[in-house]
């Protein structure tokens, strides 16, 4: 009779746009002995208490007894006993050991601290009595659509989902809550699908729409909203462990947000979950991947990475691959494979070897062990806007033109190396003054000790040899003036001498005077006159303290000169600092010079050959990285192109003969190149996956240690699952395709369960991240399987799935219940009540902003730094990190949706962490929902909420009406519904008290309404605005406001 109705549901749109009512007249059967199901009833008990020693992990198995498979339990054990004799508990060793009083024999052993409850023991006894039937773990068998259950008594509203739930609810003895009223329903579904409350106009429209499918129309509208994708992405980003920093050590910023935006868009365009999976796990391996597909592959670049000095590369490559394996298994299969890093999984059939076979898919990733603390650690994809692409093309052209001009200039030039001229150009004596009346420009001079005896003096104040001043140095012991920073270096020509003019004070005669030269090898070049032990720097007898001779006669200027070779310097070295030093007494120093014979054939500023010889094989400060690299490679390995590069550099930047002509043209080229690079930096990029072309061998790592490779393995999937198609290559793309293949038992179940959890607060399997034997069995296995198969058959259509769930009667029920309902099923697992749970951190903040009118609904882009109390980043930030200091954004960025908040993983935004948002350091498939005083403080006092309350209050006042009307509007804005008269009275009571106070203290009112960066409407009476601000603060703190219900 009613079977035709069933067909209606099945053959019609499974999304069930129409409400179908069933009335099944079969009475409930007489209570019989319940039939024990191994998976539902027995496995959880054995898994919790027995499998640790008698399970899958062979290495930890005791007495060679295995209870997870029938062969083990029913066969004869080592001891000769049989653990389980079907039908006969009294003969079963397992049963005897459970109930024995013998402390030695009892199981589980006393030291395990595990005990079975009486009802668990009864279950096991009954199971044995009923024949000890084993089942393969439910989640490892492919889901099948079971026939719809026979429903006993009463009407079943809603869609197919409700057919499944009905019996469980009835068995549990629960009364169904009625359908929620329309405003509640609208707020619930709007919040669930967009993360924002409905606007008053939307409530009115829905109330006015009396058509039978008014609700379904709303659902379709919401599924089409661009905020749907944001809301769905928020949950997926927890799974993907998305963050805006690397997460380890420096925790610098990383550019990953294009991936975040890709996720939003993927949900908005309702990409099938199949493609969603393939692109994220292997977008890079698709044929000619689009930039979007590459961006999607960033899923597995979201893991935390390091660049900590001293970190060992192989260790981190190992960790990254482990993280990607664990995350992928968790996200798609709901499996906790992490335990198999070190040993065979204790509870699920995943051996350690199988773990490393999965890991082998990821262990050839091309990203480096050290992220370089960079924004974009290769491999990356660049995502230019059309304008940027045009500008780039233009600049590329300009750069090419400038390069051409330079090359032509080079070509037009006739340069003959003087070293190769015959006859050669005669040599001439030259001098370069390094210090005359001051240290070189820019030098950061240090005076030690700083006394008045050390100063530059003019001819009126003391002897001066040349120029206008000389430098007086003196003190009781060693005194000196020096610099080694700030000034441009001097290059030493060949056969050079360094000299200084010195005048010894005839009264306070020094013991020794010294000149010290600082080069790239440091302060290692000293010449001393007078007592060679007078100044202790360097080692006497070496170039670090060369005894250059006696002191000159006092009271006269003398030129003290030394060959640079004597102090360890040679042509081409750079002078980067000079110290003038004496021991005891006083002396005047003047003109420090380099002098040499200029022989064009030996002069590096004229001869390329000489210059090259001077710099060959080393790095020189001031040269570009590229030039140094070529020089360092050495002549033997140099290509013609390299040689040409050196010559170009020499002629345009060094050679005094050609530089005046070439340098300007080259500068033009360099400037354009820099502009091109700057543009390149502006173009956003995102981290993507890629494999190293040569591959990387994978091994079973003994005990999970990165440096203990054992058996070599190839990529493969665990044996408990359907095999990989042997025709497929062993890469991530095949793994992804395998995950979404029709036979896969887990992916569809895990996915529908996660979406169920998102909508109802708890999944059909509560342990959304563990579908193994340690996880919870589904509260309704047939429903889960039906949904999983239906989802898969719909080509993994997420919007259809969401629509199906939110249009069920279960979803539409009132979330309140009677005492029986709350006491028998506090977590609402049977779904006799509608969903009710605390909103997530992001929804709470977005709600406040939406009600206030401050909310900025811009989609996408780089993470924003909203209000944050001082000193969140700073106390944890590494000194050199670019996320050490929090720089709050300004203007509308402060009011962006929370999804776009910048997530620094070592110190996540407190407004999120406080409400259980994960730190994104690892994948999270289910958030906790705590309830703490810190949350109350945040919602009452955080400037974001106070400012929102103020802006909200302004809205209420400006829109006008009596206080009662305003309160009504406040409730409707936040909750959709109108307040009851009693509620209005309570709120007005508070309002009047606030008003009275603030009229008495208008200054306090002013201060209150000035919280936050947005400016209040100063034409409003301040006491009134302040009082309404607190009223809005009150309404935004209502439990009902914080709750999805």
């Amino acid at each position: 009779m009613k079977s035709s109705s069933f067909h209606l549901v099945l053959s019609g749109s499974w999304v069930g746009a129409v409400m179908v009512f069933f009335s099944v007249g079969v009475g409930v059967g007489k209570a019989e002995e319940r039939v024990i199901s191994f998976n539902q009833d027995v496995r959880p008990i054995l898994s919790e208490n027995c499998f640790g020693c008698h399970g899958f992990d062979a290495s930890k198995r005791k007495a060679k007894l295995r209870l997870d498979v029938p062969e083990g339990a029913l066969g004869r054990a080592e001891s000769g006993e049989v653990a389980v004799v079907p039908g006969k508990p009294q003969e079963s060793e397992l049963w005897k050991r459970l109930v024995t009083q013998d402390k030695e024999d009892v199981m589980p052993p006393i030291k395990s601290h595990k005990t079975l409850t009486q009802s668990q023991k009864d279950t096991l006894e009954l199971w044995i009595r009923q024949g000890a039937v084993y089942q393969k773990h439910w989640a490892f068998e492919a889901p099948r659509k079971a026939p719809f259950p026979k429903v006993a008594g009463g009407e079943v509203g809603g869609n197919a989902i409700d057919l499944f739930l009905k019996n469980g609810i009835q068995r549990a003895g629960l009364r169904l809550s009625p359908e929620a009223d329309k405003t509640t329903l609208l707020r619930r579904v709007t919040m669930a699908l967009t993360g924002l409350p409905p606007q008053i106009a939307e409530v009115d429209a829905f109330l006015a729409d009396t058509s039978a499918d008014a609700y379904e129309k709303v659902v379709d509208r919401l599924l089409g909203s661009r905020h749907y994708g944001e809301q769905m992405a928020r949950h997926w980003l927890d799974v993907a462990r998305y963050g805006d920093t690397h997460g380890l050590h420096l925790d610098n910023e990383r550019s990953m947000w294009p991936y975040r935006d890709w996720v939003v868009q993927a949900f908005n365009r309702n990409q099938s979950f199949k493609e969603f999976t393939i692109e994220q796990l292997a977008g890079d391996l698709l044929p000619n991947p689009t930039p979007e597909q590459l961006t999607a592959s960033g899923f597995n670049r979201c893991n935390v990475t390091t660049s900590e000095g001293g970190a060992i590369a192989s260790e981190f490559l190992f960790r990254y691959a482990v993280d990607r394996t664990v995350t992928t298994a968790q996200a798609w299969m709901g499996l906790t494979v992490g335990c198999a890093v070190c040993h065979d999984h204790k509870f699920d059939p995943i051996t350690q070897k199988e773990f490393y076979q999965l890991y082998a898919f990821f262990n050839k990733a091309a990203d480096p062990a050290m992220d370089g603390n960079a924004q974009l650690t290769a491999p990356v994809v660049r995502l230019a806007t059309p304008e940027q692409t045009v500008r780039m093309g233009l600049l590329d052209q300009q750069v090419a033109d400038a390069q051409k001009a330079f090359k032509e200039g080079m070509k037009a030039l006739v340069y003959q190396d003087p070293a190769e001229m015959d006859p050669s150009i005669p040599a001439k004596e030259t001098e370069k003054v390094l210090i005359e009346d001051a240290f070189p420009e820019g030098a950061l001079v240090v005076v030690q000790p700083a006394t008045e005896k050390q100063t530059w003096v003019t001819g009126n104040e003391g002897p001066v040899s040349s120029g206008l001043k000389s430098l007086k140095i003196g003190g009781s012991g060693v005194a000196q003036n020096f610099y080694n920073k700030g000034a441009a270096p001097f290059e030493i020509p060949s056969e050079a001498r360094v000299s200084m003019m010195v005048f010894l004070d005839p009264v306070e005669v020094p013991r020794s005077v010294m000149i010290q030269i600082h080069s790239t090898s440091g302060w290692a070049h000293r010449a001393i006159w007078g007592d060679p032990e007078g100044i202790g720097f360097g080692t006497l007898g070496t170039t670090t303290r060369y005894a250059a001779g006696e002191l000159p006669p006092e009271g006269n200027w003398a030129r003290l000169e030394v060959d640079v070779e004597k102090i360890g310097l040679k042509a081409g070295d750079q002078i980067t600092g000079i110290a003038l030093t004496l021991a005891g007494g006083v002396a005047y120093f003047d003109q420090v010079s380099l002098s040499w014979r200029v022989d064009a054939a030996k002069d590096p500023s004229q001869s390329f050959k000489v210059w090259l010889a001077a710099h060959e094989g080393k790095e020189t400060q001031g040269f570009s990285v590229a030039i140094n690299k070529v020089l360092k490679t050495g002549a033997a390995k140099r290509t013609a192109a390299d040689h040409n590069q050196l010559l170009e550099y020499y002629l345009s930047q060094v050679c005094m003969l050609t530089k005046p002509v070439l340098q300007p043209i080259q500068n033009q080229w360099t400037t354009l190149k820099a502009e091109r690079e700057a543009l390149d930096k502006e173009i956003p990029g995102s981290l993507v996956m890629k494999d190293v072309p040569e591959g990387r061998d994978s091994f079973v790592m003994s005990r999970g240690e990165y440096d203990k490779p054992g058996e070599k393995v190839l990529p493969n999937v665990p044996a408990v699952f359907p095999a990989l198609d042997p025709a497929w290559p062993l890469n991530r793309l095949s793994l992804a395709k395998w995950l979404v293949s029709d036979e896969h038992p887990l992916t569809s179940r895990v996915t529908v369960n996660r979406i169920w959890q998102q909508l109802f607060g708890v999944g059909l399997v509560k342990s959304a991240g563990d579908f193994g034997s340690q996880g919870e069995v589904p509260v309704d296995a047939e429903l889960l399987d039906w949904l999983a198969v239906t989802f898969r058959e719909s080509d993994w259509d997420i919007k259809k799935l969401v629509r199906l769930i939110v249009t069920s009667a279960a979803y539409r029920r009132d979330s309140g219940g009677d005492n029986v309902s709350w006491s028998k099923d506090p977590e609402n697992r049977m779904l006799a009540r509608g969903p009710r749970f605390r909103l997530d951190a992001e929804e709470l903040r977005d709600t406040a902003l939406a009600c206030s009118g401050l909310l900025d609904l811009t989609l996408g882009g780089r993470g924003v730094n909203t209000y944050q109390p001082p000193n969140i980043w700073e106390p944890v930030g590494f000194v050199g990190s670019n996320t050490r200091f929090y720089k709050q954004d300004r203007g509308s960025a402060l009011y962006r949706r929370s999804l776009y908040s910048f997530i620094k993983r070592t110190a996540p935004p407190p407004f999120m962490a406080n409400f259980d948002a994960p730190s994104r350091e690892q994948s999270c498939v289910r958030r906790e929902r705590s309830n703490t005083p810190m949350q109350a403080l945040q919602l009452m006092n955080d400037v974001q909420y106070v400012e929102a309350a103020r802006a909200f209050a302004e809205r209420l006042i400006v829109e006008g009406g009596t206080p009662t009307e305003r309160v009504t509007r406040a409730f409707r804005t936040v909750l959709g519904r109108k307040p009851s008269p009693e509620e209005t009275e309570i709120v007005l009571g508070a309002l009047n008290q606030h008003l009275a106070t603030y009229q008495q203290f208008p200054d306090a009112a002013c201060r209150l309404v000035l919280q936050g960066e947005s400016k209040p409407n100063m034409s409003l009476p301040m006491p009134e605005l302040a009082a309404w601000t607190l009223v809005c603060n009150l309404v935004l703190n209502l439990d009902e406001t914080l709750t999805q219900h």
Partner: protein, 496 residues
């Protein structure tokens, strides 16, 4: 009626949580109900004078046995303080100045990328003088004159070792028992297991004082006091030196205290209506949390107001004590917190990473912290608090005997050294005046009584009456424990 007590009454009336309900919602519930209501017949031995209607009761069955300490103050010296220059006295090394560390000592142990490229590993003896102090005659570096005064209260462990060689994993390990992020921290475990003895303050408080500007400060990570897979309620709450001492504690400017009460009264009335309508017990829970938040607005300012501390006490901690955010101030706060029944206080002090300029930096670090540390022990002792407060001091690893960079008589640096380092404990449950373990002549390898980080953490739990092997939570298919899966025991030798 106070909604909190009303809430308790509701619990007994409704009795809605059976064993199954006591998981997530129930956990929050356990936070709020008097332990006696939930635990029924379970007798908890000496939970340490729980206040009536405790907001943070212990888990059923905890503590596992009579605790010696009811609170712990953990002074984490972040960066890896040099054991050779502070506690592990090796006078013979002076004769080996600048000699190469024998290969036989170093063996095949891995070293960090920072010194693995060094051509030689010259021995750098400590340039600091050591003297013997106290009845125990403990050798202590001249850098720690104040801590030296309390050595007879201290059990020094010279042989702590870890498996991590870099800061990030090592800090994560020492605080959460695993190198990889995601686990629950020591403090969170204790908060979860033991609850708090104060209804008006969080159970687990963290302080991050400033450190000398010239020192090499490494990063901290909020995961070091994060609750990982435990409910967020057990996150360490930062007591901050700048801004509000507790996040969002202060009413906004212009919000007069009386108005907050008016708002809360209205909120309670409205929420009660909501509860009557839906029957969701979580609403009662929320009301109680708002009330606790209100109480914290009084209790926390009272906590951080040190104006009534006697001058003699302030002098003990030194002049810096009056500067909010200094180490000395944090040390005093730690005492005030445990005095008020806060279960776990962590002081995370940075700057102990002396790769170079060790003599100068280490001296600065000690000047910054030594007096506060010594004062804390003395202060706790004179108030009779030391016998039920466990104090732990130490970093995430030690430092090498060989110099990193140039070695001179007056300057050297040291690289990370996970093989052995020094930590100490004092107070409740600890035998004072002893030293455990020995290292070789180079303080490079343990020769006697190694103590692994997991054993150290098991010892801390033990002092607080917790059997580390029985404090576990199921997560991702595993029974997660602070101390890992390998069998191990607390360090008996240092237990009183």
């Amino acid at each position: 009626m106070d909604p909190f007590f009303e809430y308790q009454l509701m619990q007994t009336r409704r009795q809605f949580f059976g064993q199954t309900g006591l998981r997530l919602g129930g956990l929050a519930l356990a936070q709020l109900c008097g332990s006696q209501l939930l635990q029924g017949a379970v007798t908890a031995p000496n939970t340490g004078n729980l206040p009536p209607g405790s907001v943070h009761p212990p888990l059923a069955g905890l503590p596992h046995f009579k605790p010696k300490a009811q609170s712990v103050i953990y002074i984490h010296m972040n960066g890896g303080p040099s054991q050779l220059d502070l506690w592990d006295y090796k006078p013979e090394l002076r004769e080996r100045f600048n000699q190469d560390l024998p290969d036989s000592v170093r063996g095949t142990q891995r070293i960090t990328g920072m010194t693995s490229g060094q051509s030689r590993f010259p021995v750098a003896p400590s340039m600091f003088e050591f003297k013997q102090y106290g009845q125990s005659g403990r050798w202590v570096s001249e850098l720690l004159p104040h801590t030296a005064k309390v050595v007879d209260d201290i059990a020094l462990i010279k042989t702590v070792h870890t498996s991590a060689i870099n800061h990030d994993p090592a800090c994560t390990f020492v605080m959460t028992g695993a190198e990889v992020p995601g686990r629950a921290s020591l403090g969170s475990w204790l908060s979860y297991g033991l609850g708090s003895l104060n209804n008006d303050l969080p159970a687990f408080v963290v302080l991050t004082p400033q450190f000398p500007s010239g020192s090499n400060g490494q990063a901290l990570f909020s995961r070091m006091w994060g609750s990982g897979f435990l409910p967020g309620t057990h996150n360490g709450v930062a007591l901050r030196g700048v801004g509000d001492p507790v996040l969002y504690l202060k009413n906004p400017e212009g919000l007069l205290v009386g108005e907050r009460r008016v708002m809360l009264d209205a909120l309670n009335k409205l929420n009660r209506k909501g509860f009557e309508k839906s029957g969701d017990p979580e609403i009662q829970n929320r009301m109680a949390q708002y009330e606790m938040a209100f109480r914290m607005q009084t209790s926390v300012p009272e906590l951080v107001d040190i104006s009534n501390e006697p001058e003699s006490v302030l002098e003990l901690y030194g002049a810096e004590v009056k500067k909010s955010g200094s180490f000395a101030h944090s040390a005093l706060m730690a005492r005030r917190l445990v005095e008020r029944g806060v279960r776990v206080v962590q002081i995370m002090h940075r700057g102990w990473d002396q790769h170079g300029s060790l003599p100068k930096q280490l001296r600065d670090q000690c000047v910054d912290t030594d007096q506060g540390t010594g004062a804390l022990i003395q202060d706790l002792k004179q108030r009779g608090l030391l016998e039920n407060t466990l104090v732990v001091w130490g970093g995430e690893f030690g430092r090498t005997v060989y110099s990193q960079g140039t070695l001179t008589k007056t300057n050297y640096g040291r690289d990370h050294h996970p093989r052995n380092f020094c930590m100490w404990m004092a107070g409740g449950g600890i035998k004072g005046g002893i030293s455990l373990g020995e290292t070789d002549d180079f303080s490079y390898n343990v020769t006697e009584s190694p103590v692994h980080i997991n054993e150290l953490n098991a010892t801390i739990l033990h002092c607080l009456g917790v059997d580390h092997s029985r404090l576990s939570v199921k997560f991702q298919g595993l029974d997660m424990r602070l101390t890992g899966v390998e069998p191990l025991a607390p360090v008996k030798a240092i237990l009183a």
